[in-house]
Subunit: 342 residues, 4 copies
């Protein structure tokens, strides 16, 4: 049994970790921390967990307790993992960070987008970007994982086969992304109210969004050098789900794109290339760790449709997929259930 | 391994059976029938099942094939199980009927509400009403199960402790029920369109609804004689969930209602009595087989709040709970995952 | 032209007053106050008002400025109108209070439900309860109007014909009410987030809610003596709308209920009795000041279905209806548009 | 008073015409046709119209009756206006067609996308494309108007200033569009059910959609020669609204884009250029004829955000705007109310 702790378990990625881990036969959640909710049972805060974690209670973060775990997940705002990860690693605990703290390799760039100094630049060298479809082997050896963001996951998995094959112009990438409102977190903000966000659609961050540098870095890694990407996220009136619509300009004689995608992902347990002509729906991945893809073409433009559940493949499910790899378990362990549909 | 067939698998209760059974370690779905979709793979119709039932294909109903199964679920419009159940029972196959065909013991009353003659009155004698919290022992011995309707499940579980204890006036029962739109099925009807049903609330069947006689029969069984019930269902702008708000008039010196409920359901794996003062949310049971209850009081009026997922405890999950009992399995087998929330 | 001010215009009833008054040919909004938003243009906060109030700016509340208006609306939390109404009335300004401050005639009862002393008991004597269908003549003469709450409006209009005719038992009233989330206001609270409140249904205040004494007082006025009412509100996943399902026990030989309702409301411009057998939808009153009613019967139980838009007939529209009466205008002035549907 | 008829009034654009025209002081709806609903009162089908059109009844289409009108709106599936428009024009009735029948100037191209021969090629010469922001003068003189589609309206108004100014590469246009479900009409189709379409997002027609040639034609008219456009529509879980996210590549030294847009639309009553940095929400135009725009830039890519209500500026409101122009009325007559928000 792998003993794990969760730091910052009161947000949506925290409760989603608990939901998923309750079905994982090899993991036991031994600690969950929250300064604001210390002393509250998780099942009192999240009634869906009643009967599943009846003794688990939020506690103050305690490096001793966390350092005794085999692994610790950070489901925290940025900056928290910076402060604590080093100490845990020294104690031999592996760290799986769902926040943005270790996603960018360049501490200065991180600092620029997050408006504060990077708190643990010395750890950047060993942090592994936890996208298994790109970095599976490194993840298996890693002590510190930066779990990719939700938009970056959907966008990278969509562009991956095209960039690897050199089929599209890396200077002409446009990612138009639509996210459900859990992407904005569980904070009490007026724009996230049902009365404000439902029955409406809007873009945000159209002039530049924090996920942009992460996606650019990831796509650049695939391509082998810098790419140019336009990224516009949109708030969609639904709870979960990301739909990335990805545009690229063919720069080579087009081969069979469907075959290209199917071959690239033939052995990937969590990437499902839909039949030619398909339009994947976000609800088809509600609650699961799968990314469904379809590829279309209009003239010289390639269009990739990529859907994930932002809380699962975009966060907590991918974190568990990383844990499975790090601990030598089957990669799909605990992540086998089908999506809830309708 | 228990081999099962599903008759009429293209509706919401059919796909929900498939979703739930995909996680059941002791059951294998060997056949699924649909005249209209014969030849289509279930995973082509329901993309959430991709990767789970990649060979399972809808077929024409065939009594020979179905009769070779250990059990057959009917997820059909009324009348279909009437026609086929007898033949299957003769072949030794157990029948678990999710339709209304065997819920009413009185064939004439059935005929009156459904506007056609009862097609299998000879089987009514052995049909067991599949509400485990009432009829667990009979279910264990049964060959033919009538799975309760969604509203009847929520209403009966809410009134059960009060009627058994004789605490409320059985002539003054009012059940105000709210259901998500999957309760209306997967048929293409204008009132079920998103553009018609969302952002709105309405009652229906306020002058009398088909579930009324079933609920009356069930409550009468609990009480020991006929009860008087007013039942008004409402269409609620959500996909899943039933919220039953149940009113009763105290007719005896009130004991501690919270204790009464907790004791009655202490050993029930799928009934969760919430702490005093709670207001259960339907989302807390999204996708799971649990009924969550809370009991309140205003003066002489008792108010029970009862929530279920209409497709799970109100249909497919309860059907599997019955199957587990019939085949001597742990009652919760395959039904252990927590609700998807948010 | 009637010059009006709005105190506390940043909530949903405030912006709804602005939306409706923009179409009122005889009213000019000359001031709108908000301490937190002073200096902000209303059209910058509410983009639907762009092009309609391009010069109107939130200002600090100022008794001099407000006292120069013909009428002032209070769209404030409770307690604010207590503090300011008296001074405005002395200056000759009429006050239309959308808050709860003057709804209960008994200052002690108010104090008990709102947890603070009543701030203006001396004004209770002249406050008129602004339900035109009950108190039209008094409203015409009033200086100070207490606009009814949203639930109380829907419930009283539904029970009115039955209680006036003495047809139902006044000790056995049950009002099961469902409200859209704007009923909870524009405050940033976690339970009102789209990710929490959508795709779910729940009751709240099942042990007693602040609107209960107001409804009881109103129904008692109709009946002529105290009534006994059970009231359970529910949060419904939609933006606007209240659906009240009202239960009563017949205590007299039933006459034709449809005729009773039609006759009672024959001359009411904002009450629409639907044809027999109807089930009014909340969306049919979205954005308008109409209450639609239908009456049903199951045995001895009468069921009235009553729908309103909580922000219009339940608040801002009814406030304008009161203003029209107070200033001798046609009662429907500015309130003539049909509902937005779909 | 302008007497008008509506052919095919049972869909969403038909009822929206009725809703809007009920507030138009110079128009009287004298006839509305529907073969399937002949004899039914419009207010019985659309309860929001109760009290507004109490005598208006659906009738069989009758060329004599329609030919006696000043103008006739077609709110019909494609092909119907082809069959009837000519006869009405001969009788002196002006025709405002909300369908696709006269939008494409090339009858062959129309035939190719709609899978049937063009039924009235002889009328194409005089049909005017009813986008007032482009063709106001021609509309004033027109007898036959082809009202633009919903997507084409949002896309053309967004690209218009950029193409007119020659600022972007006309070979690199990408329009990623999101529509509410009323865009799919009022037909009873499974994918439009609330249980299927809510809580999900999906693209459709990614390989080519019927609105593509119309948009290409319109943008080509603006640019002066053919453009290359990639167009991907998406189904969004909301009732109304289109959000077009438009991408273009700067091909000239960029001037102040905000000023460009503000100047181009300075005198347009129904185009609202939002302040720099804004992200317009579709709900801000719910029920109204306004298009709200914002312009952003990421490097060399220009991003225009364009929102309309698909049933108003995308259909019925724009049709009335055309009628106002054709009959010499103020362009905004009957279209002045603010959006319903929240």
């Amino acid at each position: 049994m792998i003993n794990v702790g969760i730091v910052g378990g009161t947000g949506y990625t925290g409760v989603e970790l608990l939901r998923l881990l309750s079905q994982h036969p090899d993991v036991s959640v031994e600690a969950i921390t929250s300064r604001s909710e210390a002393g509250v049972k998780v099942a009192d805060m999240y009634p869906n967990l009643r009967g599943h974690y009846d003794r688990l209670t939020f506690s103050e973060p305690d490096a001793e307790q966390l350092g005794a775990m085999d692994a610790v997940f950070f489901a925290t705002p940025h900056g928290v993992a910076h402060a604590l990860a080093g100490e845990l690693l020294e104690k031999g605990t592996r760290v799986i960070d769902l926040s943005a703290d270790f996603r960018l390799r360049d501490a200065d760039e991180w600092s620029q987008w997050y408006g504060q100094p990077h708190g643990a630049p010395g750890l950047l060298g060993e942090a592994v970007y936890g996208l298994p479809e790109m970095h599976r082997d490194a993840i298996r050896q890693a002590r510190l994982i930066a779990v990719p963001g939700c938009y970056p996951t959907a966008v990278q998995l969509g562009y991956l086969p095209l960039l690897e094959a050199g089929l599209i112009n890396p200077e002409q990438l446009i990612a138009d992304c639509k996210s459900g409102v859990t992407g904005a977190g569980r904070g009490a903000k007026v724009p996230s109210l049902l009365a404000e966000a439902s029955e409406s659609m809007k873009a945000y961050g159209a002039g530049g969004h924090r996920h942009l540098p992460e996606i650019r870095q990831g796509l650049g890694d695939i391509h082998g050098q810098a790419v140019k990407l336009t990224f516009v996220p949109h708030l969609t009136p639904m709870i979960r789900g990301i739909h990335a619509t990805l545009y690229g300009q063919l720069n080579a004689d087009p081969q069979d794109l469907q075959v290209l995608f199917e071959q690239r992902y033939a052995n990937e347990p969590f990437v499902d290339v839909m039949p030619a002509g398909s339009h994947p729906e976000t609800r088809s991945v509600k609650g699961i760790n799968t990314c469904r893809l379809a590829v279309h073409r209009q003239g010289n433009t390639i269009i990739v449709l990529s859907v994930i559940d932002n809380l699962v493949k975009g966060a907590s499910g991918q974190a568990i997929q990383n844990l499975n790899l790090m601990f030598g378990l089957p990669e799909t362990r605990g992540l086998e259930a089908p999506a809830l549909m309708p």
